[in-house]
């Protein structure tokens, strides 16, 4: 009885943690909520001196870096998942999937220092000049690739984030691909389908919900990732159309400015940013979990 009560109390503590997080964010953000209201979300200005704050800059940076990360990480993760479930010889499967999963255990601060000192110079000297020369003059997408190659900025942050979410997305994809019923695959082979046909036209449609869930899980991580982004984003609170320009994200702004914030309103504005981030990631992750849960009920095992 005592033991049972102890486990029950612990479970309630998990609930209390979530409630505490929500309450503390609202409590901390209250002065800024009262002063700026919802216009906070659309205002670009971020001026600690005049105490006018707006979240548009960090919000834009958060969304853009996450989209870049997904654009790079989703095709790569799909390739890795297909390779590991279909082509890879059995004896190589363990080491390769282990190696990819080790990417997930490297601390984010290490990605940050690596991104700043190794990745940013490479992008600055070889990739970005090429993008400026070849994509900059194009209509429509041209403005995304104009301006000087800073090295740090939205694009670099997106690339680092892509590497960080890659192992999460690919491991979910691998799990759900494995769940696809063998009978379905065999039926397709019986009709003369190639191995690629089976993957693309049978396995992928069957595991659609799980794949989307995995991508959303990656998105949730990308939105909230802090240290790696803080190193390479450049901390500039304005919206610049160019992906090569320095910017900031919600988490990077909090990490950079929180311990230096003077004045209640400044601190409170950072809490407001945190609240926005929480709502954003909570929505995305909750949706991802619901999708995966649905698939899990259809198949077996937890992803």
């Amino acid at each position: 009885m005592l033991f049972r009560t102890a486990t029950l109390v612990s479970v309630l503590m998990v609930l209390a943690l979530l409630a505490g997080v929500i309450l503390s964010l609202i409590y901390g953000a209250w002065p800024a909520l009262r002063t700026f209201g919802l216009s906070f979300i659309t205002r670009e200005k971020w001026n600690p001196v005049t105490e006018i704050f707006g979240a548009a800059g960090p919000l834009y940076g958060t969304l853009v870096t996450s989209v870049i990360a997904l654009l790079i990480a989703v095709p790569l993760s799909f390739g890795i998942a297909v390779f590991l479930t279909e082509t890879c010889p059995r004896w190589l499967r363990g080491p390769i999937s282990g190696g990819i999963e080790l990417l997930a255990s490297i601390p984010s601060i290490v990605y940050g220092i690596w991104g700043l000192f190794v990745m940013a110079p490479i992008l600055q000297h070889s990739v970005q000049p090429w993008l400026i020369d070849h994509l900059g003059p194009l209509p429509l997408i041209g403005p995304l690739f104009r301006g000087p190659p800073f090295g740090i900025g939205l694009l670099t942050a997106g690339v680092v984030l892509a590497i960080m979410v890659l192992p999460f997305i690919s491991s979910v994809m691998r799990e759900v691909f494995r769940m696809a019923p063998t009978s379905l695959k065999e039926a397709a082979y019986g009709l003369g389908a190639t191995q690629w046909n089976v993957v693309w036209q049978v396995v992928l449609p069957w595991s659609r919900a799980g794949v989307i869930g995995g991508i959303m899980l990656g998105l949730g991580r990308a939105l909230g990732e802090t240290m790696a982004v803080t190193f390479v984003i450049g901390n500039a609170h304005r919206i610049n159309l160019s992906l090569l320009a320095p910017a900031t994200t919600i988490s990077a702004a909090i990490a950079n400015e929180f311990s230096e914030a003077v004045g209640d309103l400044y601190t409170s504005a950072l809490f407001y940013l945190g609240l926005l981030l929480f709502v954003l990631t909570f929505g995305v992750i909750a949706l991802a979990r619901l999708l995966l849960l649905r698939l899990e009920r259809a198949g077996a095992g937890r992803v």
Partner: protein
């Protein structure tokens, strides 16, 4: 003239070649990161790193105070977070199986598992730092505990679910109370799985930086006082890497190597134990 059959064959080849390339890119990045760390960090690694405290710019020093702080806060974090996580996971797998409360908690725990750690930092800041009036090591340890907890809940539940039902039924048939069955039969059967979960939670929090920025902050000097700011490796790496000083940047690389090697070692160890456990549970029934 290319036939449909040839086109399908070419498509098949191209697609699988591309998937191989994707895998190669993923592994290449891992190798590149490890290579950079080893080549930049190992060179500057010396005994002084473990003996001296973090230096002022321009003078020589080490990371001793930061290593001590990291170890201490991770230890306290695990001592708080792991038992709560273990008990919650036990509730989800044993008492609460299928109950509505368990479903809700499982869902919330999964969300907490992927929630941004910086938000946990803001929570502990409001909870402890504002109340105490200053940054402190204990606040840092609590924020690490809150991050370790969901990891432990999830792995405990998964591991206990691997233990065959028949063992529990056998114990119940002998007249054992549920708590006795769990403590004497289920936990020992899931021993190595639980250990894996513990190692993974240590790995998860030992490199955690964001929440420490507003809780433990940093300290230039050696400090064992839990109610005051304490140096720790991640924040020192952050501060030193962003600084313009050459010797500070070198120490940042050394710190990065130490943390990465520690975390990778833990992950590999956890994986090895888990795969041994997996074989046992297959042959055990």
């Amino acid at each position: 003239m290319i036939t449909v059959l040839q086109r399908r064959r070419v498509m098949n080849f191209v697609a699988f070649a591309a998937s191989g390339v994707a895998t190669a890119i993923g592994l290449a990045v891992l190798v590149a990161i490890l290579w950079t760390l080893l080549s930049r960090g190992l060179g500057a690694l010396s005994l002084d790193v473990f003996r001296q405290s973090t230096p002022a710019p321009g003078s020589s020093g080490g990371l001793a105070n930061a290593i001590f702080g990291s170890v201490l806060m991770t230890l306290i974090g695990i001592l708080i977070g792991a038992p709560i996580g273990l008990l919650s996971g036990t509730y989800l797998a044993e008492y609460g199986r299928g109950s509505r409360l368990a479903t809700v908690v499982r869902f919330i725990n999964d969300v907490l598992l992927s929630a941004p750690s910086i938000i946990i930092g803001l929570f502990v800041y409001t909870l402890l730092v504002v109340r105490m009036g200053r940054f402190s090591a204990i606040a840092g340890a609590v924020s690490l505990a809150l991050i370790a907890m969901p990891v432990m809940v999830r792995s405990t539940e998964d591991m206990l679910n691997l233990v065959p039902r028949s063992l529990r039924e056998g114990s119940a048939a002998m007249g054992a109370q549920p708590w006795r069955t769990i403590l004497r039969i289920v936990f020992p059967a899931a021993r190595s799985g639980l250990l894996t979960g513990l190692l993974l939670s240590v790995a998860r929090i030992s490199g955690e930086t964001a929440p420490l920025l507003f809780t433990a902050l940093n300290n230039q000097f050696w400090s064992g006082d839990l109610t005051r700011p304490m140096a720790n490796l991640p924040v020192v790496i952050f501060q030193f890497a962003m600084s313009p000083y050459d010797d500070w940047q070198k120490l940042a690389w050394v710190g990065a190597v130490l943390i990465t090697l520690f975390v990778l070692l833990l992950s590999i160890l956890a994986r090895a134990i888990a795969s041994m456990f997996g074989q046992h549970s297959q042959t055990g029934e």
